[in-house]
């Protein structure tokens, strides 16, 4: 407890973070982008799915009290409480939208390829850059080979590019039904993708040439270029994309059409592979996703590097481009140069990344508290009065024992406060008004445990024991009662935390926390205090004001001594 309180002051987080209803925060308005020809995709179902996914993203643990809701037909509002890293939240929220798995056709280093002539310079730069960085990158192919392939792919634009495109087309046809939303009209896609050649020539070679040009000119280090790119990428088309490799350097890719999309991923997480001692990302696909994935991987595993890689593209950006060595199906893992953070991040993106719509950020602005200070104050004042009443009641009924109860209550309140303060920055825990009320009530419920114990002690005294043995004998029985009841509360908290999402989860967290604190306080504070108190003259002599006066408790030992050979008949008197 001292450590906790100390920690609270040491980190300077001396106040709990307040939820958006009490402290306000940031509000982000997102607008669903109606894709040309697919306006109907912006419908209620998709919007609600998107709300659910965004909610999970910003409120992963359920304790940060972020709110997500639709507004009008095509807007989503995200409210984030003050004190959250709003930059990070913005990144999590809206712009990261769609997830696709695409085959890699070409990879190169991320800068502008200086010469307009693609082949020579491209391969040179690509190779040298690759040499420098990708040997530690086990997700990717070995350097020389990759550079060669890159070279080949980009230099001889006409011939080999034909095949991936047609191949891509065929797959697109196959994919069209399941991948409902992303089918933009080819024309629009074309023109935005290659602004230099506005003539939307459907001929594969022309398209590829345009792509080549774009690829060469692309500078992945330029954020604007990247944004422009991700805005224009169409999943069913061959496209260029940027991505960081695991060494943190930008690379650019030419990617085939999307073969599997984010909706096909059932679940994914970053895990520590115990055997190899490295972080990996495991993926489970849905049944239809597994089929698609099997198809793409069986094809890819036969290819040369880099064409045996598939890129995981999130909102136009390549998140990872693992190599495929064998045909895979429903379960797959990505191993590579991950650390815990990057593995878990990729896992999150894979499982939550599949927003059914693309969103653009329309506005970001601060938002005031809806309830504000006066409500919080009213709550705190009312709570304080309520607790004062509890104290008065305890004093009237338990007299001296109330002191122990009061100290325990204070300890419990202090612990709750310190933990909540510390958890704010640690896991984004934020208190809203219901939680504040809950905490006040929880303190009252904690007092129940003391009462259970006190009543036990009094029962023992009624049976004729002196205080010290009574305190010790009462403890195991009271302890059992307290543990059983607290276990039920904790069970409620644990189940709700695991099963639910959003605010219910946040509540479950608070409930579990206060229940644990209850046990901690009773075990390590109330009980020792009681033992100590039993040694003092005031309590052990059974003064009327101690609350443990045997006579007042109605202990009448002589009348039933016959049954209890072990008890000292005159116990209360001698005390």
């Amino acid at each position: 407890m001292v450590a906790l309180t100390g920690g609270m002051f040491a980190t300077g987080d001396t106040t709990p973070r307040l939820g958006i209803d009490l402290a306000g925060g940031t509000t982000i308005t997102l607008k669903a982008k109606a894709e040309p020809g697919k306006e109907s995709a912006v419908n209620e179902t998709n919007m609600n799915t998107a709300v659910g996914i965004i909610e999970r993203r910003v409120n992963g643990l359920g304790v940060s009290e972020a709110e997500v809701q639709t507004q009008g037909r095509e807007h989503i509002i995200v409210n984030i409480p003050k004190g959250t890293d709003s930059e990070q939240a913005r990144k999590q929220v809206g712009t990261t939208a769609q997830l696709y798995f695409r085959p890699v056709l070409t990879v190169a280093a991320g800068g502008v390829t200086p010469e307009p002539k693609p082949s020579a310079s491209e391969s040179g730069k690509g190779a040298s850059d690759k040499d420098a960085k990708s040997d530690k990158d086990t997700e990717k192919a070995t350097d020389g080979k990759k550079a060669d392939d890159a070279d080949k792919a980009s230099s001889s634009a006409g011939e080999p590019s034909d095949s991936p495109t047609t191949q891509g087309r065929a797959v697109t046809e196959a994919l069209r039904a399941p991948a409902a939303d992303p089918t933009g009209s080819p024309k629009a896609a074309e023109s935005s993708k290659a602004p230099e050649s506005p003539a939307a020539d459907p001929a594969a070679s022309a398209e590829m040439t345009a792509l080549e040009k774009q690829f060469t000119a692309l500078n992945c280090q330029d954020e604007k270029a990247r944004t422009a790119l991700s805005d224009t990428t169409r999943p069913e088309k061959t496209a260029v994309a940027c991505g960081k490799n695991s060494a943190g350097q930008w690379e650019k890719y030419i990617l085939g059409p999307a073969e599997v999309d984010g909706k096909d991923v059932d679940d994914a997480k970053g895990q520590l592979d115990q055997q190899r001692g490295m972080w990996i990302v495991t993926m489970d696909f849905t049944s239809s996703g597994a089929k698609k994935f099997q198809k793409i991987t069986s094809k890819l595993s036969q290819q040369q590097s880099p064409q045996n890689q598939f890129a995981i593209v999130l909102d136009g950006e390549v998140m990872s481009a693992p190599q495929v060595n064998q045909t895979l199906s429903a379960n797959a893992e990505i191993s590579g140069n991950f650390n815990q953070d990057s593995a878990q991040e990729l896992g999150n993106m894979l499982s939550y990344g599949a927003l059914p719509l693309t969103f653009s950020e329309e506005s970001v602005t601060t938002v005031s508290a809806a309830l504000g200070d006066e409500q919080l104050k009213a709550g705190l004042i009312a709570g304080a009065i309520g607790l004062a009443l509890v104290v008065i009641y305890l004093v009237v009924y338990y007299r001296g024992l109330a002191l122990i109860a009061l100290l325990s209550l204070l300890a419990s309140a202090l612990l709750t406060y310190a933990l909540m303060s510390l958890l704010g920055p640690a896991i984004g825990f934020a208190l809203n008004l219901p939680a504040v009320c809950g905490a006040i009530v929880a303190i009252g419920i904690t007092a129940d445990s003391f009462i259970v114990y006190f009543e036990r002690v009094r029962d023992e005294i009624r049976e004729g024991r002196t205080l010290r043995p009574a305190v010790e004998r009462a403890w195991p029985r009271a302890r059992r009662t307290i543990l059983v009841s607290d276990f039920v509360s904790f069970l409620a908290a644990a189940v709700l935390f695991v099963v639910t999402v959003g605010k219910v989860q946040g509540f479950a967290f608070t409930l579990g926390l206060t229940t644990l604190l209850d046990v901690v306080v009773v075990f390590f504070f109330t009980k020792p205090l009681m033992t100590l108190a039993a040694r003092t003259k005031f309590f052990s002599s059974g003064r009327p004001w101690s609350g443990l006066d045997p006579q007042r408790l109605g202990a009448k030992p002589p009348l039933r001594r016959s049954r209890r050979t072990s008890a000292v008949p005159t116990a209360p008197k001698e005390a």
Binding site: G52, E55, Q69, G444, D459, L491, L553
Partner: protein
Amino acid sequence: MSRLGTIGARLYRGEIGYDFVAKRKFWYAVSILITITAIVGLAVRGLNMGIEFKGGAVFTTPKTSVSVAQATEYAEEASGHIAIVQKLGNDTLRIQVSDLDTAAASKAKIQLAQDMKMDPDKINSELVGPSWGEQIANKAWTGLAVFMILVVIYLAIAFEWRMAVAALIALIHDLTITVGVYALVGFEVTPGTVIGLLTILGYSLYDTVVVFDGLKEGAVGITKQTRFTYSELANRSLNATLVRSINTTVVALLPVAGLLFIGGGFLGAGMLNDISLSLFVGLAAGAYSSIFIATPLVADLKERDPQMKALKKRILAKREAAAARGESPDGEDSDQYDESGEYEDALPGDVAPAGAGAVVSPRNDRGRGRSSGRRR
């Protein structure tokens, strides 16, 4: 309070008491009546779900100097519903009001514009979706179901299945009553309400478990004695732990009462009302049901157990025999059962000399509290 202490002692020893178990039919009836009222209220009036659950209208005003609190008041007046008002960074207001159709929304908008002295055309109104979507609600239901199953299993292991069933019934009883009160009072259901309701989930069971724990202890070795039937023992444990139950309830209710009557009532904090109302009703119902419903239910179920039936038979036979022999029941002793005349088992009272088994009772009532069940 010394008198309270004495009462506590007398309750503990079973000198005085209220026969909860014998009067159970009355309390069952009361509970069924309340529950039916709650369900009817729920069916007829339905729950007034807040904007967080079903969305509503959102008005965005132009730049204004009206404060959040003032705007809340205006909006609630104009719409008749709880409003959520937030000030945005550029000094415009975002006002969300639940349950308005388009016509009502435009009316509210005009009213709002008048109150805030601005041009109605400048107020932008749109429909807003729920922030507490169906997904959250569904998962909460799943969670509730999973929890109930697990808690029944746990209680069945820690105590026995009868207690688990009784605890579950008591829990459902509490939740129904609380939800019913919301339907009848017409308060808007907010996330705060739901959270209050879930708090009850834990608390109601906590209370019940404390009572059951006493009961379990009291019933140890019940088959080895022939003085009390299970129902009588249950009643005895209930009375012995009554002080504890009352105290724990009072102590849990006081802070909630503070929130409800002082915070919500005097300080006029609307949001506090709906959180603390559900807590207050639920906690009160939880305490009531653990004493008046859960334990009698256990006794009812338990009396169907062949062992307990046999025990009851033995006891009745013995009492009859004692009565036939004309042994007068100990006068002092029967006061506990005086008020429950219809409970025939109890009538003959103490049969001290015939006490078989562990119970040896030299004199009247004290012996009763010392039934073998008391010892561990």
